[in-house]
């Protein structure tokens, strides 16, 4: 409940800032200035856009399947937002304490495929339908490497509960943490904490896992270079071609919500969640000082924002993939590598730790 009360306003605020940040980053990468007119340095641009969007008419195309068309944005947003229910926000503050939290997250997020399908079909528009079909094929395909890469983390940390997983990556853990996860080195870093106890450092093979996770996450969130469901140049906007006003805004909200969710999840699974990156060095107990209720939230959101920045950076760097390249990447490259990494993770868990 706490996370619900926190995440809904946070998500709305994030979308406002995120859109502004995205436009600014895009502009800077392209040697432009970006929005500059509304407010100092254009800070209020997104709010102005939002106000404009809310005033727009909610158009229902005549040939559309009314029920599906109207329900689709809500389904998508609800599916994405439900994923936030299990995220641990900070020390002692977590959403629903489901034992299978991570599993639940994957399951509930996969529901937004249905919303997309409803939107595409309900619009009764070939572009929308194409976009929806592409999007569904893409999301289902990338769920495989995503799940496999997460499974590696689950194997290493031996739990599906995200809060427990986070605790095991910091100084609050009860388990011994060895440097690079190699027991034979004999270096116990559990009390040092900081970045040394993060999952990517605990078992360095997870870096590969993280890359796969990140790529698959981009595809799940329909972000460039995997934004071919809504590719403006060919499909006019894909499954949200026919939407306007607030419902279109819900699509945007869901997209940014998905981005944020993937970023949070990446931070929690691989980069220690709300744990501080600063280690205890002798008497300089940085990790102890920077661990706490408020620090936790700060670190988690900070890490998520860094990942969001990387997503935007990637978006303005790479061109969009073609459909066959997209499928090749998922099935021929990411999935086999994810399987191999999963196997190595199992071996690592058995013999090293």
């Amino acid at each position: 409940m706490i996370t619900f009360l926190f995440f809904l306003p946070f998500l709305l605020g994030f979308v406002v800032i995120g859109v502004y940040g995205e436009r600014k980053i895009a502009a800077f990468i392209q040697n432009r200035l970006g929005p500059m007119e509304v407010g100092p340095k254009g800070i209020l641009q997104t709010i102005a856009d939002l106000l404009k969007m809310l005033q727009k008419e909610d158009i229902l195309p005549k040939a559309a399947d009314g029920k599906l068309f109207l329900a689709a944005p809500l389904v998508i947003f609800a599916a994405v937002f439900a994923g936030y229910a299990v995220l641990p926000l900070t020390e002692g503050v977590a959403g629903a304490g489901v034992a299978a939290g991570l599993f639940f997250l994957l399951a509930i997020v996969s529901l937004d495929v249905l919303g997309i399908l409803m939107a595409g079909w309900g619009s009764n528009n070939k572009f929308a339908l194409f976009g929806a079909m592409r999007s569904v094929a893409q999301i289902i395909s990338y769920e495989v490497p995503l799940g496999l890469s997460i499974l590696g983390v689950v194997m290493i940390s031996q739990t599906l509960d995200l809060q427990e997983m986070t605790i095991n990556q910091g100084i609050l853990t009860a388990q011994p943490i060895y440097l690079f996860g190699i027991k034979s080195l004999g270096l116990e870093v559990g009390h040092i904490g900081g970045f040394l106890s993060w999952n990517v450092v605990q078992s360095p093979i997870l870096i590969v896992s993280f890359v796969i996770f990140f790529i698959a996450g981009l595809a799940e969130a329909n972000r460039t270079p995997f934004d071919l469901p809504e590719s403006e140049s060919e499909l006019i906007g894909g499954y949200h071609t026919e939407y306007s006003g607030f419902r279109w805004g819900l699509f945007m909200l869901a997209e940014y919500g998905m981005m944020l969710l993937i970023s949070f999840l990446g931070a929690i699974l691989f980069f220690g969640g709300w744990n501080t990156p600063l280690p205890n060095i002798g008497t300089l107990a940085l990790a102890d000082w920077t661990t706490g209720l408020w620090w936790g939230g700060f670190w988690l959101i900070g890490k998520a924002m860094v990942l969001i920045f990387v997503m935007m950076w990637v978006r303005w760097t790479y061109p969009r993939l073609r459909v066959d390249q997209l499928m090749d990447l998922s099935w021929k490259y990411l999935t086999p590598i994810a399987v191999i990494v999963l196997f190595i993770c199992g071996v690592w868990r058995l013999w090293m730790i």
Binding site: F28, N31, W313, T317, Y318, Y333
Partner: protein, 313 residues
């Protein structure tokens, strides 16, 4: 054999992955470089500046309305007509390849004034419109202008909300003035006719040219086709343009010229830039010619003149 192929496939597979990682990271590095360069920004320096082409990094956009690259002094953008210097010769309208200049002259009985370079004015400009929406900025009109009253100015930003606002009106006569001028000329003609009728027995060489003149008044200087072609409201006032204000004020000369009957729109007198009076002699010569030529062949009157003039220059 097959195993070799499989090995080959595997090596291409691995090479693909390696290449992907390499190229992707290179792309990210490149864009990150640009992201960092965004701290620098281009300054609004003009093309004369020696550093103009040296600025290669940082944001290239300027916040236009607030900062702008200075226009070179030789910039030729919006047309401006100094109506007080205009002798309404119609050359510009004839030479214009896109027909963006629309002139409607009214003849006057006598010389109505002089331009700043001394050329006598014999025509009132009832209408002198330049449609900048059509203008192709070729500059031909400015080269043919005998009194150099038509120039291209440095003003380059003249966007409007309505395309009709691109029609710049330079003539400054009120409809009433136009009517009175027309009437005055008709009366003058009528008087002449009357005189002619009185002295009908007088030798022909005298009457001939005058009869010609009466005929030519109606299709005065080949313009009558145009007003039909483009019926623009003549009283249209373009929004805020300094040119317009100038021309609006410049009602001085016509007023002087028409002391006899004008209703004198007593407006504040503007100060005129002294016009270069370089080609005074040649233009006045041509002016005389133009007055003489109508006698043999009035309909095509200005044509030979236009052709000749560029050659003169």
């Amino acid at each position: 054999m097959r195993s070799v192929e499989a090995l080959d496939d595997m090596s291409t597979y691995a090479r693909n992955i390696g290449q992907a990682i390499k190229t992707l990271s290179e792309g990210l590095k490149l864009t990150f470089k640009y992201l960092l360069q965004a701290r620098k920004s281009r300054e609004p320096i003009g093309v004369e500046d020696p550093n103009y082409f040296k600025k290669e990094e940082g944001t290239v956009t300027l916040q236009y309305p607030y900062e702008a690259i200075p226009v070179p002094d030789t910039g030729r953008y919006r047309l401006h007509n100094e109506i007080d210097d205009c002798i309404v010769c119609d050359k510009c309208a004839k030479v214009c390849p896109v027909d963006c200049i629309d002139i409607e002259p009214i003849k006057s009985a006598e010389e109505i004034g002089k331009t700043s370079d001394g050329t006598p004015k014999r025509l009132y400009a009832a209408k002198f419109d330049i449609d900048m929406a059509k203008c192709c900025f070729c500059g031909l009109c400015t080269t043919v202008c005998p009194t150099e009253c038509l120039t291209m100015t440095k003003v380059y930003d003249f966007s409007e909300y309505d395309v009709r606002d691109h029609n710049y009106v330079f003539a400054e006569m009120t409809p009433l003035e136009i009517l009175t001028k027309q009437k005055a000329y008709e009366e003058h003609q009528a008087k002449k006719e009357a005189e002619k009728a009185k002295t009908s027995s007088v030798s022909k060489p005298v009457t001939r040219p005058e009869a010609k003149v009466t005929e030519t008044t109606a299709p005065s200087e080949a313009t009558p086709v145009k007003p039909k072609f483009r019926p623009k409201p003549m009283t249209k006032k373009p929004t805020v343009s300094d040119e317009q204000q100038k021309t609006g004020e410049g009602a001085e000369k016509p007023v002087k010229a028409e002391e006899t009957e004008s209703t004198s729109p007593a407006k504040p007198k503007p100060k005129f830039r002294p016009k270069p009076t370089i080609k005074q002699a040649s233009t006045s010569d041509e002016k005389k010619e133009s007055n003489e030529i109508p006698k043999p062949k009035p309909v095509f009157k200005p044509k030979p003149m236009i052709k000749r003039k560029p050659k003169d220059e």
